[in-house]
């Protein structure tokens, strides 16, 4: 520390001591608020002065000063955007350079109905259309499978064969939109579906912009649409990554890791960051084993986080995770290459904090979450609709959600400059605290053998169960205030307009599947499925063929998702989750 800085800090220390003695003491002593001339007549005072951050992890003082960030080097730790360690942002210009996309996560019913909706979204200016898939599709079952009864087209669209994709994208310019899906246990299949849809529509697949979540870990930590044991799932996911990196353009993003299920399931903020970094590292290393360089993959991936309710803690989180990633990636991959050390962030704002009570309040919650993401210099934001705690959102609520960042950007000028909270004593202090805590969790996971081992052993699930229970106990005791839930409640709530899914969808989808199965070349389907099984068997025997080519041929033959994953289930077996409560 320079002599100049030391002198400044010493002077500030004296100032702070004086302030506490002469000013603060008049207002609060022994934890009790004292009425003073600051108090307006009739104003109610609080009785307790202990404040915690939203995650509950940090005690928050009455004021933050230069003394709280004395140890944080303004050049090496805070620095500048676009420069190591990226606390202030990955992009040197950030919001001044990048247009916010209008983004929709959408889909329900049969591919026929979904198609209509996508056309409407496209005409309304939507250029980023993410396919929400129904549960049978996400778990690799056909729509006519007995276990799928009642679930077809319910939480997303049903895709059984390539014919559904052909229909879905008919008339949409595949080279002019970004598309993708969140299927995590079905990565190689999702890749094949998009690849072939483009090819059949006469679009050069390398000109398409496709984003695959392909994030198996999250299915074992709360989301639950797993198929295979985690080790197999990781292998299939990284096959997908290797294929994309080897054969397709950089417009294809083969994988990202999503921390939302961890946080929503009960992790605190430092766990979200620490576990998230550990998990993403595991993905990069799994791909590395298949010949993909981190320089190649990391720019095509991102960490997909939530935005919780504590505005400043969340802003600090986004800053902290970039800095922690920069340091760990530099060490781990032995390079200062910005493609490796700078991490792109996407946010899906915290749908878990939306309340069923007084649902319009959720519009305010979501706005603040989006604000946190924007102030935290994240690259992409997806936003849940205010009625999601009740049911699938309506077209109106979806549109309202998508417009939130645009109002903040165009009217509130939030995107006028990069990292506007950088240098704030409070936010810099929080950033360092979160980085420190997250680093400990990261080390803990590494000590347990890494992310895959932490998934397999149920370590993450146990951490989540404890955190979640604690959170709800705080809400139930009233220690944690939720407006409309345990404060300012109203006895009788007005019903809100809810989306209804079409029960006809399931029947129609099953008919379509039947028709496809009748019209396709069934000998060819069998041949392709046999080939797929052979490749899978080789994998199970430890001979590492990439499964994607065989998958593409199977999908091209119009083999259904249930047939394809039926074959793979025979070879790899199915995952049985541990019962952790």
């Amino acid at each position: 520390m320079s002599a100049l800085k030391e002198e400044f800090l010493n002077r500030f220390k004296i100032k702070l001591i004086k302030w506490k003695e002469e000013i603060l003491k008049g207002r609060v002593a022994n934890g009790e608020i004292k009425p003073e001339f600051w108090t307006r007549h009739g104003q109610k005072e609080k009785t307790k002065v202990e404040f915690k951050s939203g995650s509950g992890e940090f005690l928050i003082k009455e004021i933050f000063t230069p003394l709280d960030i004395a140890e944080i080097d303004p050049i090496d730790q805070i620095g500048l955007p676009g420069d190591f360690p990226y606390a202030r942002g990955r992009d040197p210009l950030g919001p001044q350079a990048v247009n916010l996309p209008l983004k929709f996560y959408s889909g329900y019913g049969s591919s026929e109905e979904a198609k209509e909706r996508y056309q409407r979204l496209y005409q309304a200016g939507g250029r980023f259309i993410v396919l929400a898939l129904d549960l049978p599709t996400q778990i690799g079952y056909d729509s006519d499978s007995p276990i799928a009864a009642g679930e077809v087209g319910k939480v997303g669209i049903a895709l059984d064969t390539l014919a559904d994709m052909d229909q879905l994208f008919e008339g949409l310019p595949l080279d002019r939109i970004s598309t993708g899906t969140v299927g995590n246990s079905i990565g190689p299949w999702a890749l094949a579906m998009f690849y072939l849809t483009g090819q059949k529509a006469g679009v050069d697949p390398s000109k398409m912009k496709v984003n695959l979540q392909n994030d198996p870990f999250k299915e074992y930590t709360g989301r639950g649409t797993f198929i295979f044991p985690p080790r197999v799932a990781l292998d299939l996911a990284s096959d997908t990554v290797a294929y994309v990196c080897k054969y397709l353009s950089h417009h294809w993003e083969p994988q990202y890791h999503c921390t939302t299920t961890l946080r929503w399931g009960g992790c605190n903020v430092t766990q979200e960051v620490g576990f998230g970094v550990a998990n993403l590292i595991a993905y990069i290393e799994a791909a590395q084993k298949k010949g993909v360089d981190p320089e190649q993959l990391i720019p095509r991936t991102n960490l997909h986080m939530t935005a919780d309710m504590d505005l400043f803690e969340e802003v600090a989180k986004f800053r902290a995770v970039r800095r922690l990633w920069a340091k760990i990636a530099k060490r781990r991959f032995g390079t200062g290459d910005p493609r490796v050390t700078s991490l792109r962030l996407t946010v899906y704002t915290g749908a878990n904090r939306l309340t069923a009570q007084q649902p319009l309040n959720n519009i305010i919650r979501v706005t603040i979450q989006v604000l946190a993401a924007m102030l935290g210099s994240v690259e992409t934001i997806s936003i849940p609709a205010y009625d999601e705690a009740h049911a699938l959102p309506t077209a109106e609520s979806t549109r309202l959600a998508s417009l939130t960042p645009h109002i903040l950007n165009d009217e509130c000028m939030v995107g006028n400059t990069t990292d506007p909270l950088g240098g704030s004593y409070y936010v810099e202090w929080l950033t360092s605290k979160i980085e420190e805590g997250a680093n400990e969790w990261y080390n803990e996971v590494e000590a347990r053998g890494g992310a895959l081992a932490a998934v397999e052993s149920g370590y993450y699930l146990r951490q989540m169960a404890d955190g979640l229970y604690k959170y709800y106990k705080e809400v139930e005791s009233g220690e944690r205030k939720l407006i409309g839930v345990n404060k300012f409640t109203i006895a009788k709530e007005e019903p809100i307009q809810l989306f209804k899914s079409d029960l006809e969808g399931e029947r129609k989808q099953i008919e379509r599947l039947k028709k496809v199965k009748q019209e396709r070349d069934n000998d060819n389907v069998q041949k392709c499925l046999n080939e797929l099984k052979k490749v899978a068997q080789n994998k199970a025997d430890g001979k590492g063929d990439n499964i994607v080519s065989a998958m593409i041929e199977a999908v091209r033959s119009y083999a259904s998702i249930g047939e394809i994953f039926g074959v793979l289930r025979q070879v790899f077996g199915e995952y049985r989750p541990p019962m952790i409560i």
């Binding site: 319910k154 939480v155 009740h390 979640l468 229970y469 019962m579």
Partner: protein, 133 residues
């Protein structure tokens, strides 16, 4: 006195089990015996397990919209197995207009998002005390 025995399960394919785990733990903390079956259970497995474990209450956690189908199957299987004394409750995302429908087919209680777990504990205790075994 015999402890109240409750089975918690998620029928169907939805894997979001935070709510199910939460209520399981809260009931256990309230002194009940909880059998936690977890995700992706069929009505048949749920009812078979309920009979085997001799439970008083089955709690289904459902967010994906299949509450009517699932409740109907479970009720039917309970009736067929002569186990109508087992009460069924449902938690999760259930639109208001479906609550009456669930009650009509025999679901004893429906608990939406944001329900206080103490409310569920109280409900089960009252239910159980009213039904001598």
């Amino acid at each position: 006195m015999r402890k109240i025995r409750v089975l918690i399960a998620k029928p169907g394919l939805d894997g979001h089990e935070s709510g199910a785990r939460l209520i399981a733990r809260a009931l256990r903390d309230a002194g009940m015996e909880v059998i936690y079956l977890g995700v992706r259970q069929t009505p048949k497995v749920i009812v078979d397990s309920a009979l085997q474990e001799d439970v008083d209450v089955i709690g289904l956690s459902i967010l994906s919209g299949i509450h009517k189908e699932a409740a109907l199957s479970v009720m039917q299987l309970l009736k067929e197995s002569g186990a109508a004394h087992i009460s069924l409750i449902v938690g999760g995302i259930v639109p208001k207009e479906d609550v009456a429908e669930l009650n009509r087919i025999g679901v004893k209680g429906v608990f939406g998002p944001g329900t206080n777990t103490r409310e569920v504990v109280k409900f089960i205790k009252e239910l159980h005390n009213n039904e001598p075994k």
